[in-house]
Symmetry: C2
Subunit: 72 residues, 2 copies
DNA sequence: CATAAATTCTCCCCATAGGGAGATTATACT
DNA sequence: AGTATAATCTCCCTATGGGGAGAATTTATG
């Protein structure tokens, strides 16, 4: 499906992490990021610009396939 | 189509800008960015992390539809 | 309630994308 | 060749995403 806002996307990632029963600390480790970074990432969802690389790392680790689609 | 790398995407944007016959300065103005920024953006394609917002602004101005696709 | 685990918050730090201004180099175009 | 125009580069600057460490708070769980 199409992502209409980063906020929405981050919310999905948080939701998924919780439904998988894993902590921010575990995700952080899997993504090679810090807990602090994950916390900021999740709790300020969409209110700040996130790094593309962070978005892709998080998505991958949580079992989503995120891609950039390009039309025309 | 799917974007496999930012480098590839930026190359497409540069190509398109040229085929439209517009300068970096014009694009910069349309995107509310600086010429300097556009130059760096184009000439270091994919070798540095670009802002999501910049990617989307550039794409839109050049007549592309860029979107984040989310699977599973 | 009490204890532990998870999350958020507060500092301060670092790295870097993009801005401003000006110099330099490429590319037209006559 | 000469003269615009476009693109790149060099400084230095600002804003901000994420890191580190620790405190404070929230959320389980016994």
């Amino acid at each position: 499906m199409q992502v209409n806002s980063i906020k929405e996307l981050v919310e999905k990632l948080v939701e998924r992490r919780k439904s998988l029963g894993i902590s921010q600390a575990e995700v952080a480790q899997l993504c090679n990021l810090s807990v602090n970074g994950i916390s900021k990432f999740e709790s300020n969802a969409g209110e700040r610009e996130v790094k593309l690389s962070t978005l892709f790392k998080l998505s991958e680790v949580l079992g989503f396939k995120l891609s950039l689609e390009f039309e025309e």
